[in-house]
């Protein structure tokens, strides 16, 4: 068994252990869950060490026979893109579990098990190289997330959970149709990624199939106008659920676009790219404007995710090395920034049991550490240079400008709006006079909470100043995908060369 399968099996094993230890107290449940998630973090780091950065292809492959009758295999492999996202998943999960223990007191065992299963399934999504296996992992993530929202969520959790379930399941089913169709086209019938990639599909076929895949992924991202499940899911989910949702689950959509929709349907990709750029731009601006008006801080951040994930899709369909590589980096950045914001919101919620922005005011005086960290994370989210968000967003916009100037120019205004909704929220929560006993008595972050945030903060600053290892990891794989799509490498003629003639 290789490191890759081990990274999936370890959390699953942890979940199984929890299931077979009904007598275990909450304390040992927490320890088992943490150990299992840390073990997955370790194996994923080993995977990183073993990874050959120079090789753009899928590597570390592992294959087992699964359903020979239909040619389905349990086959796993990673490239730079999936490795980065797996690392993001294994990095965030232990932090989420640690952050949850102060707020989750009911059915702790189930909660921990659900998260471990969820982690395994998401890693499976990023690692699968068999389309059926991918589909099953992809759809399976819905179940633990549905339970996490539906059982441990807020007052409106039933509605939110069902909405999440149906929205994403509906999207997924269209993809299943497309996958089955692709299967029928492969010689001898195969779900293997390589076999599907080798197919020579007609343009009409590509259009239909691309639509099936793209819709499934668009719902997951979520791309305007199929985004309305996200604000409800975020608002009602417990803190851990929100962090995982924003941090990792949404990336399944953008990952899917890059891994499947682009290279399998190159003609359709090029044909539909302007439309997807358009939807991304609308999402960036629309999400940001709607975020401005939210009274619930979690809803605000949920809409900001619609805006920020718009940047990722924009970069993906800009189809050049700079923008598309940066869009993968932006997936990580959004996971870190928004994850940290939801953790902070969770810490504040535990103290105040409200998410209404209007309930707060002047807190910076009382909770300087929380205020300082909140501002740092907000700055990361609004793409202040020097922090991680910028090294994603700027190359996305710069790259997009080279292929579609209008889209890049319009999307740039998203950075003004991001500053507006984040700083306005910050001002309403932390600035102004300290009014009311509730605000007066709010306590600052404890060392434990700062400790949970610290690893994310280190990455926010670290990636902001030294993003190169991440770019180096991602770029060869992105170039491979772009070659599959048939895009020429971006080549800007230096002006001096052209001017000699004039």
């Amino acid at each position: 068994m290789g490191m890759l399968s081990l990274t999936i099996v370890l959390p699953l094993a942890g979940a199984l252990l929890l299931a077979f230890l009904p007598e275990a107290g909450d304390r040992s449940v927490k320890q088992i869950a943490l150990v299992a998630s840390l073990a997955a973090l370790v194996t994923s780091l080993v995977l990183l060490v073993q990874f050959d950065v120079a090789d753009p292809n899928l590597q570390q492959a592992e294959t087992w026979v699964w359903i020979p009758a239909i040619g389905a295999q349990l086959s796993l492999a990673v490239d730079g893109v999936s490795l980065v996202l797996i690392l993001l998943t294994t990095f965030l999960t232990p932090l989420i579990l640690l952050a949850s223990w102060s707020s989750i007191t009911d059915r702790v065992r189930g909660y921990a098990a659900a998260f471990l299963v969820l982690e395994a399934a998401v890693i499976g999504v990023f690692a699968a190289t068999d389309l059926l296996l991918f589909y099953i992992f992809f759809e399976f993530t819905i179940i633990p997330m549905y339970l996490i929202i539906g059982i441990w969520g807020g007052a409106g959790r039933k509605y939110a959970a069902v909405k999440f379930f149906l929205y994403t399941l509906f999207g997924g089913l269209l993809m299943l149709v497309a996958i089955i169709y692709l299967y029928t086209q492969t010689p001898g019938g195969s779900f293997a990624y390589a076999d599907v990639l080798a197919l020579e599909l007609g343009v009409t076929e590509q259009r239909w199939l691309f639509a099936g895949f793209a819709l499934a992924f668009a719902v997951k991202v979520p791309l305007f106008p199929v985004h309305t499940w996200l604000p409800d899911a975020h608002t009602e989910a417990p803190t851990g659920g929100s962090v995982f949702l924003a941090g990792v689950l949404l990336k399944m959509g953008t990952f899917g676009l890059l891994r499947y929709a682009l290279p399998i349907f190159p003609d359709a990709t090029v044909e539909f790219a302007p439309w997807l750029l358009g939807l991304s731009v609308v999402g960036i601006l629309y999400g940001a404007i709607v975020a401005l008006m939210q009274a619930d801080i979690k809803k605000l951040i949920a809409y900001s995710s619609v805006s920020h994930m718009g940047f990722v899709v924009l970069g993906t369909f800009a189809l050049n090395a700079t923008a598309t590589s940066a869009s993968v980096v932006q997936m990580v950045n959004h996971g870190l920034s928004t994850g940290a914001l939801f953790l902070l919101i969770g810490f504040l919620y535990e103290r105040r049991h409200t998410r209404q922005i209007s309930a707060f005011g002047g807190l910076a005086k009382r909770v300087p550490v929380m205020a300082g960290l909140w501002l740092l994370v907000s700055m990361s989210s609004l793409a202040l240079p020097g922090l991680n968000g910028f090294v994603g967003e700027f190359p996305i916009l710069l790259g997009t400008f080279q292929t579609n100037r209008t889209a890049a120019v319009l999307a740039s205004f998203g950075v003004v709006l991001a500053a507006l909704y984040l700083l306005w929220a910050y001002q309403r929560i932390f600035h102004g006079p300290l009014v009311g006993a509730d605000n007066e008595n709010t306590t600052d972050l404890k060392a434990r909470e700062v400790g949970i945030l610290a690893p994310i903060l280190v990455l926010i600053v670290g990636i902001g100043l030294y993003p190169q290892p991440l770019f180096d990891l991602v770029e060869p794989s992105v170039d491979r995908v772009l070659t599959e799509v048939g895009v020429e490498p971006l080549d800007i003629e230096p002006i001096a060369a052209t001017s000699e003639e004039s």
Binding site: L173, P225, M293, F401, V409, H431, G432, L490
Partner: protein, 647 residues
Amino acid sequence: MILLAVEASGVANEVVSATSGVISLAWLIVVLPLLGFVAVLLANRALGDAVANIAIAVAGLTFALSAAVAITVIVDPATYIVPMPTWIDIGPLTVTFDIFVDQLTAVMLLVVTGVGFLIHIYSVGYMHGDSRYGRFFAYLNLFLASMLILVLGSNLLTLFLGWELVGLSSYLLIGFWFEKPEYASAAKKAFITNRVGDVSFMIAMFLAFATFGTLDLLGLIENAPALASGTAFVLVLLLLGGAAAKSAQIPLYVWLPDAMAGPTPVSALIHAATMVTAGVYLTVRLSPILVMSLDAMTIIAWIGASTALLAAIIAVRQDDIKKILAYSTVSQLGFMFIGVGVGAFREGIFHLVTHAFFKGLLFLAAGSVMHAMANRTDAWGMGGLRKLMPITFWTSFIGWLAISGIPPFSGFFSKDQILTEAYFHGFLGIWIVGLIAAVLTAFYMSRWFFLIFLGEPRFGDDVHPHESPPTMTIPLIVLGFLALVGGALNPVHSGPLFNFLAPVVGPIDDLGFTPAGPLPEIALIAIAAGAGVFGIALAYLAYVRRDVSQGRMVEPIRGPIAELAERKFFVDELYETIFVRVGGRFAQALVWFDTRVIDGAVNAAGAVSIATGSASRRTQSGLVRGYVGVMILGALVLVAFLLWQVR
């Protein structure tokens, strides 16, 4: 390509990779204050007020190091590149942290760290007793580091890194007393307005990259002569968008007057002497691109002239001693933009330097007055402080004459040279508007000076003005000295500073400038000096010769224009209407659309299905199961359809 630029201006700047010597240590100039910021924040609780010493020591060291670097450049002029690690390398985009040092950098380094160091010292006295005393010094160090990144970056993107970090420092310091809602709003307004400019700056970078294939300053400067005029026009205007926000020019100046919410040392350092001049630095740094589009330069000149005039008119009717200085800063920055626009790049930088001296001085003097007057800022509630605060009075005296353009004070030389160049380069309209603004400048600054220091006290017994402590008066004296003698940097047109900066500015020889008229330079100098004297004389008649004990009732100028000036031409109200009211309506409409239309459709679809499925199952889990059944059935039908469709 470099030869082209060099031939035209007649002097060569050799490009040197600095791997040894003082300049190779230039990275410390950035890293020291950055470490200072972190150290002060971390040690704040443990050390108490003593923590300020760390920040001050860091500022002093940074100044010493900057001086050493500047001296090296003076002795051995060249463009030095200090190799540093890569920041971003992705596709064709490569950006390094390399440090860029040339003559212009040397000037900026001295201004930023020199004034910066003085203001660190001043803050010891001014901020004494504040509950967040240590944090203030941490932010000052952060600002210093950010501004130095801006000045030392060798690439537009690293320059932008500093550009944004000074924005963050400015946000933190304007909102330093965030308990007051209007101060917090001022901080946010500054950041957001600057972000609008940033979008323009970012698009400029996209376009520059698409055109040049690089964002390296050297690459841009060397290849600028090959720019097509259309591209140059757009590129310069986009850069102007960024510069206009940072340097508070029309239409993005509105944040600067509000920024006076910050503690006064911040107003002096960030919002007068250094950060707000970043736009001037940027445009002069890229002047080889500017000279490729005379049309764009003309627009810059007119933006500068309109801003200089508008802000000067507003300043005439402000009563808050800091607000007067704030509008004055906007106006003086307008003069610098006139310089840039009419091709007087070096004169623009000269004015940047003298302005840093005299406006830094005037703000510190205002701070000293506020310190003495229990933080009052209404000029009408002052008067007669001359005797009570002699050092503040005499240093203010120098600052007042310097900004009014009275020879031989520093401001006279720099302002006169900008206006003279405007005339000699054929910008008659700009020259006239500039002269009117100069008269108004002398008028409103005299009003400021007279109302504070002369006449009889107009305050009651509840305040007891006194001279400020030495930590505050020593910086005043140093800046007073500089504001007095700063003109010596470039007393005549082809003076030392002018020649020193020659290799770094774009060549204007090909722009075909011809003088606007027959006046010789000596006449222009006389007119400029006369403008200052005239403004002072008017203010003298209005505020010294007349009895002003009745307060603002005696304002000599009345009527609608005075009213307009007092209400700042309703620009804030106009923006409020457009962005907050109309923008808010639009945002509300989108929220309605999101919840009613988009989500409404989703819920309606759900409701229809529930209605059809409710006959059999009503529970939640049953609902989901029913859905899944229907969906899988639908999926199968779809597969069949697809197969049939495509075959």
